[in-house]
């Protein structure tokens, strides 16, 4: 990690506990512009919790977040969006009963000069964005509930990129998708990278993300096991980090690394 640029995001020594259990314990991760960092770990390793602190869904107990080197005050999802942080949740977090346009603009609706919803303008922009992401998408008037998993995923992604996100968090982005749709998401990630957006990919399945990521950060029991560039390590070595907490030579160990002595 000889990168001398200022990281886009730096989460330093983050801790949070729920009822005495340390869900995240002294964890630090960082992300540079145009970089994809995969955050790996078992279910319950604390990766989703850590990232929810960044997206404002949880309040941290300790530690600090720097955005472009400056301390950021993130207490709720609205704050996070102000810093250009957009999240695509594992549960997709779409309102099932309203249409794609309503979901894309949820919380940031376009309005006419009279203060009413400008549905037509929102639909127009939605058609434009969705046309770029998923040209086959035609069901603009139907509630999102009626859509397939991949279509719902593209709605969630469109929603994130619509507002010029600089930092994109994707929690298990391909978990609900078929092979073809997964490939589509992969293409999309490459495209977003080119635009200089920093992306956190969260997954418990290394195969999903290994080829997409520039770096991996592995978590176990709420602690960071270590960081590594994907070109320096093999999938098996990363698996070792996930399962045993064993850090390979070329990786940088974190506080959660297995003590070898």
């Amino acid at each position: 990690m000889t990168d001398t640029r200022t990281p886009l995001v730096e989460m330093k020594n983050i801790s949070i506990s729920f009822g005495g259990i340390h869900a995240v314990d002294n964890a630090s991760v960082d992300l540079y512009p145009g970089e994809v960092v995969a955050l790996l770990g078992h279910n319950g390793a604390g990766k989703s919790t850590l990232i929810k602190i960044l997206s404002g869904a949880y309040k941290r107990d300790g530690g600090e977040i720097l955005i472009n080197g400056e301390p950021a005050d993130i207490n709720n999802p609205r704050d996070a969006k102000k810093y250009g942080i957009e999240t695509i949740y594992q549960t997709l977090a779409v309102a099932d009963n309203v249409d794609a346009a309503a979901n894309l603009y949820l919380g940031r609706e376009l309005r006419t000069p009279w203060g009413t919803l400008d549905d037509v303008a929102m639909e127009a922009k939605t058609r434009e964005v969705m046309g770029r992401l998923n040209p086959n998408f035609q069901r603009f008037k139907e509630p999102v509930k009626a859509l397939s998993g991949g279509q719902r995923q593209s709605v969630a992604i469109a929603r994130a990129i619509l507002f010029n996100a600089r930092i994109l968090i994707m929690d298990e982005p391909t978990a609900a998708l078929g092979p073809q749709e997964t490939a589509q998401v992969g293409e999309l990630i490459k495209q977003l990278k080119k635009e200089g957006i920093g992306i956190f990919l969260i997954s418990h399945d290394i195969h999903d993300v290994f080829d997409l990521a520039d770096r991996v950060s592995v978590m176990k029991n709420g602690q960071v096991v270590g960081h590594a560039r994907t070109e320096d390590v093999t999938k098996d070595e990363v698996l070792g980090m996930i399962i045993l907490g064993k850090v390979p030579e070329k990786a940088i160990p974190g506080p959660g690394a297995m003590q070898t002595a």
Partner: protein, 437 residues
């Protein structure tokens, strides 16, 4: 480009394979569920008309039906938003009672001392005070639900008892009467109707509004190059809408004032009493006009404003709404405050109609209101419901009750029937939704 051509082909292929009925519904975008309800209501109307020997479908009965529906219909519009967000409000009947009682005391006992009897400002002060009180009570409920995380069922169950008790407490159970003369107009009756000419004017304005709305939406969609409804469907919708409006006006305009009142009016104004009697039509009753305005405003709020969008998003997926940065707790407070305000309007209508405020006013109304919303297609699972559906639901409930009175069914059986209809209606709806998936 290839995609566009492909979909056009697909669409054409799809419409060719559809039968004419399906194509008709898709082109006109008519909600088949709503249409089903209208159908059910027509069956109820025709059935009661036959059973009562032609008493049901008379201008007089339909006019009365519209007045009787107004109060519950007003509250049902708010109940839709409450239920859409997966809440319930059991306290609306008691809020109606309490606000009605306060408004009664205010106009019959307090304001006359200050302003004099039948002062022109009395009704406005009373109504304003009622609206504020209703909104305040609703906001209190909403705040307890949203910020203290007490389930709405419990908060409003408590409210049901608290406000009914408070109603009783205010005058120690005494009935307050009579109401202010101007205030009383909100209750309908011969005086509280706007007459034939004004009714026709309202009808014409409504028709112009229908045409303007349809034309405007077409223009907007054209501007952005979205798919348009076929022209015949636009004409069809406009025609049906206007015909319904004008038909309803014709009905209320063919219900004349009762002979005694017409005679008194003729004497007072020096009109010679003609041989066949004087035909003075009622026109639209003021409470009905209030309910229609409330329905339009609530539809506007729920479909055109950001607040309405949040209400539905919150009902569909509370977590997603929260993560999208919506201040969900404030939305909940606002919904209940709005509900309280609607209770105040309903209280004004029913106290004015009764010309008295009693401590039993609005009892069981919470159940009729919830039933109206649910029969009108509001899903208790949240996220689904329309204002128009709920108002239609209120009309269906009232039609059943009035019809049973006309046919001479005893009160206990009336309740049994209404209860069963509610269950059957929701069951049919469940079946419909399961099939629609």
């Amino acid at each position: 480009m290839a995609d566009i051509t492909n979909t056009t082909h697909a669409n054409r292929a799809r419409s060719a394979s559809e039968n004419p009925v399906k194509r008709f519904f898709r082109a006109t975008e008519i909600d088949t569920r709503l249409l089903g309800m209208v159908g059910a209501m027509l069956i109820i109307w025709i059935g009661f008309n036959i059973l009562s020997g032609g008493l049901f479908l008379t201008p007089r009965n339909l006019w009365n039906l519209s007045v009787q529906t107004a109060s519950v219909a007003v509250m049902a519009t708010g109940m839709v938003l409450v239920i859409v967000t997966r809440n319930i409000d059991l306290s609306v009947g008691s809020i109606l009672g309490f606000v009605g009682m306060i408004m009664g005391v205010l106009q019959a006992e307090l304001l006359p001392q200050l302003l004099g009897f039948n002062h022109p400002a009395t009704w406005m002060i009373t109504l304003l005070a009622g609206l504020l009180l209703g909104a305040g009570i609703g906001a209190l409920h909403g705040a307890i639900i949203a910020f203290l995380s007490v389930p709405s069922f419990i908060v409003t169950l408590g409210g049901l008892l608290v406000w009914r008790g408070a109603t009783w407490f205010v005058t120690s159970g005494r009935t307050v009467a009579p109401m202010d003369a101007t205030f009383r107009l909100m209750g309908g009756g011969t005086e509280g109707s706007i007459g034939a000419t004004a009714s026709w004017i309202v009808g014409v304005i409504a028709c112009i509004a229908i045409v303007a709305t349809i034309a405007n939406s077409r223009k907007q969609r054209k501007r952005f190059g979205f798919p348009l409804r076929p022209m015949w469907a636009e004409y069809f919708l406009t025609t049906v809408g206007c015909a319904l409006v004008l038909g309803a006006i014709a009905v209320v305009n063919s219900y004349p004032w009762p002979v005694a009142i017409a005679r008194r009016y003729a004497d007072a104004n020096g009109i010679a009493w003609p041989e066949g009697g004087l035909f003075i039509p009622h026109g639209i009753a003021i409470p009905v006009l209030i309910a229609i305005v409330v329905g339009i405003v609530m539809t506007f709020i729920s479909t055109r404003l950001r607040f309405g969008r949040y209400v539905f998003a919150l009902g569909g997926n509370p977590e997603a709404a929260e993560l999208a940065g919506i201040k969900t707790r404030w939305v909940t407070v606002k919904i209940f405050a709005l509900m309280g305000m609607l209770c105040a309007i309903a209280a004004a209508i029913s106290t004015a109609r009764l010309n008295a405020a009693t401590n039993a006013q609005g009892e069981l109304d919470e159940l009729y209101t919830i039933a109206a919303a649910v029969i009108g297609g509001t899903s208790l699972a949240g996220g689904m419901g329309t204002i128009a559906g709920a108002m239609l639901g209120a009309l269906v409930m009232q039609s059943l009750q009035s019809g049973m009175v006309l046919v001479g069914i005893d009160t206990p059986f009336q309740r049994i029937v209404v209860g069963m209809v509610l269950v059957v209606a929701v069951w049919l709806d469940t079946v419909y939704r399961a099939r629609a998936k």
